[in-house]
Symmetry: D2
Subunit: 334 residues, 4 copies
């Protein structure tokens, strides 16, 4: 941690501040005198030092970390890729391409099973589907909830596909005990109470990037889960909010190579939510695979115009089949 | 709701689509033929129609609402200002200026009571203080939790100041029964499960704007609370995330007159979190009052350099006293 | 164009407004009465109607275009792809992949020629290089200017590679008469005087997307050039400004399929400026090709650590060679 | 300047790099060894060192400035406020409130003179008006150009009000010789060729903040003008581009106290362009004055619904008169 002091301080003030840092944080302090500035460098483990507290000191002009503030999610301390194995043998993060597909929201047994069978034939190895739906409007369809989870589990039974589905409240955790991967949505990425509870489970968590989360904040949210003991975190890039309004969000594909460099966790991409437009799913899925995504999560609906939610971004099973063929070509080319 | 159709559709397709809209949504449909475009206008209550579903129809090029998607929070349907009265008689939204002040986090009985007494003397009429603290890092101080709430209640007893404090989980609602105003933080603005639970209470809710929430999304989150029956919502602007990095966030003061025009709910401003820098609190507090804020919520600490959280943005009681004097001058001038 | 009127207007006011629109803009006006709103639809060519003027009318609540405001750049009116042919036979926009490579700034005859030869061997078909350099600081190296252009032309002579280089002022246009493609930088994307002057030339223009330009604004800037007669515009996505600070900008790859759908102009991608980090060039170049880019423009320097500008984002010739091999694999797979 | 080196370098590599920095930049280099990191501190004048070049070195992990990269615009080196005096004695930056008002674009002699007289009566001390208009669309009204300048000068003659008007091209500089303040628009904030030319004049320049310019970039653009000798720069905050779409831009009022702390230059605020809505001008003008703006620049039109440009954000003379009364009340209260 590097601290730039305000100008014009006398020697004693600087010494006293240095000493107080050493005592409080058990670090060594290196002092360096520039032409106009005095800079202090803290040596030791500074992960837990609160930058705000340092900034609040009268003598401080600015502070900056040299070390990343996350440990368990940090590739520096865990150089090997994390690989997560699901019930059907699918491995996420081992260099293969995981394909998660299914409807935005579970609507009926027939719907979800029909879609599950179709996407499995095309090559999907995980079934996605929403039972609890976070909707901007209280007047929109909120999902089938517990009943939706049961329908997903039935579809799993019939097809053998492990399932991934979103949790919206820590009170519902018990309902998710047979779910293979629990998804944390973008709006809950910093619902720290929920993250801590999920950290007590022994179950993969798909952590979507928040609508305006920095890569560091996203990794810090992974750290919240991991710090409690659950290291099975899958990161999911799903577009960030920018000034551009043609698409719902702006897919940040640079996040893939960056996260894979900073962290050992697998990263999947959701091109459906990123853009909100089904015709953009194919080119962006291909781009995601080309720059190293460990998997894709794609919305597929057997009847998009009658979908209860987000039909505009859903592919038909036929369109999904075409996307799979194209991303597999890219994957083979690499 | 206005729907622009794709080009080149034949008459029958357009008629069929029109008829299906009428039946499904119980609306009238007005059709209008441009040079290249056909446009449909839906007449009736379209609040609950999902834009995504319409967009998913093969024949649709684009859709747009004419009506706002919120009702209970909408000034068009409730022209009179909402006024909220607290236990000590303080009214929020009646044209007066409510001053909420106190420490970022509650640290001890002495700390919070000392600060409470000081800010009361300066003119604060609500005590703020964090017991449950949402922190980016799992390794940062997370607040005194239930104990912190008790210390706040003691300070309330001693000073008579009603209290406002943040909730982070719907499981904790019972702990908040003696709290005067429950705060929902920016990171939980779209924690819809929590919002619905708070909608069942008969207690004012201070709803902070999300880090990248549009004004419409913010009002929709208020609508979540109100739709459940609790209409005592206070909105709080606290800065939005932009590309500018000099300040932690960018305070959006235009949101004040805009929200007051779209909605009847009171709006307060948090200049402390907006900037993260204590020396910017005074000018921005003054600006907020000048453009119509119903109140301010300001961090005050008796010893900022030793604050356990966010010291860099805290004022000393003396600095707070100066801010109050200045904002009162502005208020009187209006 | 669709105009929503304010509530509560009487019939005569609405009629008068309707009539004035018809007369002023030579359009037909369709009126439609909702439950609370009156909506007017304008039929005819509304491209030149100023939205601001309509918005300024007392009776208007909101206005929205149905048609895109650009014509010459619009695929609806020009369904076939624009293909641009350069002096060495290279075609841009014909389905092939154009590779533009070279140093950020021209430093010496040896440097630029050495790099030109190297990138040609790897497969580049256009040489890039900066002679006039837009720098944030007046104290940074500003380029060799006219001398730099001459060095580029020499390198062209020696290698046969056509050249692309940036113009910073309309006063310099004469200096660019032997340049094959004139580049307009992100900071000048809305320097309308410059755009108009370039529209008088018969020479390809590489138009970079502005730092915070929407896709529509970018196409409108292309329209500025095309409206003057020069239809040889190549669009270049180079990253947009967002809140994320890990990279210099956020590369918006969704812009590629979107622009190719809205417009007939070719689109190339600059992964070097988008991220500012050389190790991210390869994965993002691959992603760009996977989602349909017509070309890439990449910074290559024979000695990045001693580059006078932007060394951190430059590849060595060897690294560039590796990128070319990989993007070609992707291109073949498609 | 602080340089963090990559991990795992041997001693000699570090020594060699240190030595090369000393030689190349004529600085002293202080070395400090952390647990995992080696950090170098450069002592001396680092303003002209290119951060990108340092970043490009193989051994470098990250670099950061400690000093601001601007000198002439820097309050540290020029503690006293810059005060600019106009032909009619108006002083900008001396603690008074400068009021610039007038039409978005000059349309006729009658229009501009009528408005000029009206705003003068209300208290304006500078007349604004656009002759050269930067418009997103090539099909929109582009201003009366040279003729518009003449009409402005006539209005100046009749009213005695100094004038401020926008330049769009360095080729037009001669036309501006009788203009009192030359405005550089947001889209040209980084048109460095233009800035340098304006730096050779002895005339105040009103430099608008770019649509997505950071405060530092804005000050660097001021530095471009000042470095050429012209130190009469007035900064103008006019809203930045964010994800929020209710207003055209988001007015960043925190920029006022920040710029006044970092720089000695005066700052004025343009609430008209910031929001694009005339009813928001009053509250935001009041807020701007409350937090320390040196002046306001406001669009006033005698007939907004028939304005050729931006009528929606224009005030009538009566509305302007009301705004002036209110901002003066705020100013007196301070």
């Amino acid at each position: 941690m590097i601290i730039v002091l305000k100008r014009g301080l006398d020697k004693k003030t600087i010494e006293d501040f240095s000493t107080s840092l050493k005592k409080k944080y058990n670090v060594e302090v290196n002092q360096w005198q520039g032409v106009n500035e005095t800079v202090l460098g803290l040596i030791g483990d500074t992960t837990a030092i609160d930058i705000g507290t340092i900034n609040a000191q009268d003598v401080v002009y600015s502070v900056r970390r040299v070390q990343e503030p996350y440990k368990k999610a940090n590739r520096k301390f865990h150089p090997d890729d994390t690989v997560i194995t699901l019930s059907n043998g699918t491995k996420i993060g081992d260099g293969s391409l995981t394909l998660m597909a299914g409807p935005c929201s579970v609507e009926s047994a027939e719907q979800v099973t029909e879609i599950a069978k179709a996407v499995k034939v095309s090559g999907a190895n995980v079934l996605r589907g929403g039972a609890f739906k976070p909707r901007t409007s209280p007047y929109s369809f909120q999902g089938l909830k517990a009943e939706g989870l049961e329908l997903l589990l039935k579809a799993k039974e019939e097809t053998g596909l492990p399932i991934v589905t979103e949790i919206m409240s820590e009170s519902d955790i018990d309902l998710f005990k047979d779910v293979d991967i629990i998804q944390v949505g973008a709006r809950n990425m910093q619902n720290f109470t929920l993250l801590k509870k999920l950290g007590k489970l022994d179950k993969p968590i798909l952590l979507k990037r928040g609508l305006c989360a920095t890569i560091e904040e996203w990794l810090m949210s992974a750290e919240y889960i991991m710090a409690e003991g659950n290291e099975k975190v899958i990161l999911c890039e799903r577009g960030i909010r920018t000034y551009e309004k043609y698409t719902r969000n702006t897919l940040d594909l640079s996040a893939i190579p960056i996260v894979k460099s900073l962290s050992h966790l697998p990263v999947v991409v959701d091109p459906s939510h990123a853009t909100g437009m089904n015709w953009l799913v194919e080119p962006l899925a291909m781009a995601a695979v080309a720059c190293g995504a460990d998997g894709l999560i794609i919305e597929v609906h057997n009847d998009p115009p009658h979908a209860l939610c987000d039909g505009a971004q859903s592919l038909t099973p036929e369109e999904f089949d075409s996307v799979v063929k194209k991303v597999n070509k890219i994957k083979s080319a690499l």
